[in-house]
């Protein structure tokens, strides 16, 4: 979780990731952020994020992103 938060805070230091649970629906993260994020998460957690995982539900909150990372690490 700490690694994830660090990545997010470096990507968008202006966003409150702890509070915002609708990062996508509120329009806070745009396509540039998602693409950067997918790259960084894949590298940091040594996972492969496939096109089918890149859906809004997996990126709306820190918890959702953590769940995705955990799921992919187990695969």
């Amino acid at each position: 979780m700490e690694t994830l938060l660090k990545i997010l805070e470096e990507l968008r230091p202006d966003v409150d990731f702890q509070e915002n649970k609708a990062l996508i629906d509120s329009g806070e993260l745009d396509s540039f952020d998602i693409v950067s994020l997918v790259g960084e998460l894949s590298e940091a957690f040594e996972i492969e994020i496939g096109a089918e995982d890149i859906i809004p539900e997996n990126f709306n909150s820190v918890e959702a992103m953590m769940a995705l990372v955990t799921k992919l690490q187990e695969d």
Partner: protein, 505 residues
């Protein structure tokens, strides 16, 4: 001869009144409905008794916002689309230049409008759409309209921090639409999947091609462009067969592997414009759509969206650039080296001549004079050309190839940005002593170097939120003890670039 862009709508609405013209998330408008709604809005604006004055339209991207634009036209005036998510300071800076007659918003942009605290008159779209149509008065306006009247003014990034409003007359858009719909064989059968925001000039093609031909536009919700599989499923579900998107949208789909999951074959024509389309990602698309028409289109806002195009007709290696091709019909393109024409395969500045040219920037004679100049090849009579600031040359096939920008303008995620505008915003932040930007083309990152130890990165970005749009945010921020300077005391961008390249390694 058509003189006014709404004649397209009137002809099509008479032919296909029930056919759906624009589809959004919560609304569909037929050509007949669109015509009525545009006239109602236009009739409301008649009360100002003005001609050729700007009306600012700050709405969400909906079918009704097209009616709002056309309402401005019916009243004999022109529109400026404003992005409601744009920071307050930037909108107010645009209004300082534009001095709009009135600001038109919709229910969805009410919050943004409140935050704006604009002192001028503000109208809500939903409250004026029921105005009774003043048919005779509208006719009277039309009788005196000419095709050189302005249709819209679009604001683009300016290097001093003040956005510039490009004024585009009716005849320029008519010139564009006639070429575009014929070249890409657009008819009422087309279902166009729109990506471009309405404050972005690429959308002008989508909108007016629909009005002229009776095609249908599906406004694709913005979020889908972050989620490629969903996007392609949407294309399939709506049976979209024509798309003209910014290259970064195509790249996201290709890079995430979404094409391997789903590549709906309803897509027949695929055009890219707004920035360089990387050949590698183009090839990934081509592999999935071997029979589709692919077109690489180029053009600055000042020359009404498109001025050259290339319909891909041969194979390209991943490291070979896609040419921008040939001039669009009734447009002259030439490459100048100083005051003379560049020789074959010699590099020079791409210049444009023709009906497509904007007369200039709104309330900005200085910038207008810099960019729109007397044709140096014609000393005989007054004739304006537009200097794009883009460096180009002809290749061995006689096609035009885009090489680079002359100055500090960049294309980032399809947006045209002057690095100077970001720097002006950064330098206005109290804790920042000095800031300079470079662009990392390979990594597609805006890199900010700044001095000012007290200014944390989160502080800088939080301050920037009020000044520039999100797409102008630096993607990398590097704190320096001191800014490197050249001998004539300008910021040494080459040294910044070297420093950055070393850091990346």
């Amino acid at each position: 001869m058509i003189r006014n862009i709404v004649e397209y709508l009137e002809t099509t609405a008479a032919r296909l009144p029930e056919k759906i013209a624009f589809v959004g998330k919560e609304e569909r408008l037929s050509f007949g409905n669109l015509l009525q709604r545009s006239k109602r809005i236009g009739s409301y604006f008649l009360r100002y008794g003005k001609r050729n004055v700007p009306i600012a339209v700050m709405t969400e991207k909906t079918p009704s916002s097209v009616a709002a634009f056309l309402g401005c036209v019916y009243s004999g005036n022109f529109y400026t689309p404003i992005d409601p998510s744009m920071p307050k300071e930037r909108i107010l800076s645009i209004f300082d230049t534009l001095r709009p007659q009135v600001l038109l918003i919709d229910e969805k942009s009410k919050k943004a409008a409140e935050h704006l605290e604009y002192a001028g008159e503000t109208l809500v779209l939903e409250e004026i759409v029921h105005t009774e149509i003043a048919e005779e008065a509208l006719q009277k306006v039309r009788r005196t309209a000419i095709d050189a009247d302005p249709l819209y003014a679009l604001f683009t990034s300016g290097s001093t921090g003040v956005p510039k409003g490009v004024v585009i007359p009716h005849h320029s858009v008519i010139n564009l639409v006639e070429w575009y719909t014929e070249t890409f064989d657009i008819s009422e059968k087309e279902i166009i999947g729109n990506q471009a925001p309405f404050y972005f000039d690429s959308s002008v093609k989508d909108i007016y091609a629909v009005l002229k031909t009776g095609a249908t536009m599906e406004i694709i919700p913005k979020q889908f462009f972050s989620f490629p599989v969903k996007l392609m499923e949407y294309v399939a579900e709506k049976e979209i067969n024509y798309v003209d998107w910014v290259p970064s949208a195509f790249c996201i789909v290709a890079n995430t592997g979404a094409l391997e999951k789903t590549a709906p074959q309803c897509l027949k024509k695929i055009a890219f414009c707004g920035e360089i389309m990387p050949t590698k990602q183009y090839n990934m698309w081509r592999a999935k759509y071997p029979h589709a028409v692919f077109a690489n289109i180029y053009g600055p806002t000042e020359a009404t969206v498109d001025c050259t195009y290339y319909i891909v007709d041969r194979e390209f290696a991943d490291d070979e650039p896609l040419p921008i091709g040939y001039p669009c019909r009734n447009t002259d393109i030439f490459i100048l080296n100083g005051d003379r024409l560049a020789q074959a395969e010699e590099t020079g500045e791409l210049c444009i001549r023709g009906r497509c040219l904007a007369p200039g920037y709104y309330n900005n004679p200085e910038k207008t004079e810099e960019a729109f100049i007397q044709n140096p090849l014609n000393p005989h009579y007054p004739e304006k050309i537009y200097k794009t600031g883009d460096m180009a040359r002809y290749n061995a096939y006689g096609e035009i190839v885009f090489l680079a920008r002359k100055d500090h303008q960049i294309k980032h995620m399809g947006h045209r940005i002057e690095l100077g505008e970001i720097e002006a915003a950064v330098n206005s932040i109290d804790l920042v002593e000095n800031g300079a930007c470079i662009y990392d083309e390979g990594g597609q990152r805006i890199v900010l170097f700044y001095c000012g130890k007290e200014a944390t990165q989160s502080y800088i970005l939080k301050k920037l939120r009020d000044k520039v749009p999100k797409y102008m945010f630096p993607n990398v921020m590097i704190l320096l003890e001191e800014m490197p300077h050249t001998l004539n005391s300008k910021i040494d961008r080459l040294r910044l670039k070297e420093y950055y390249d070393k850091r990346v390694e």
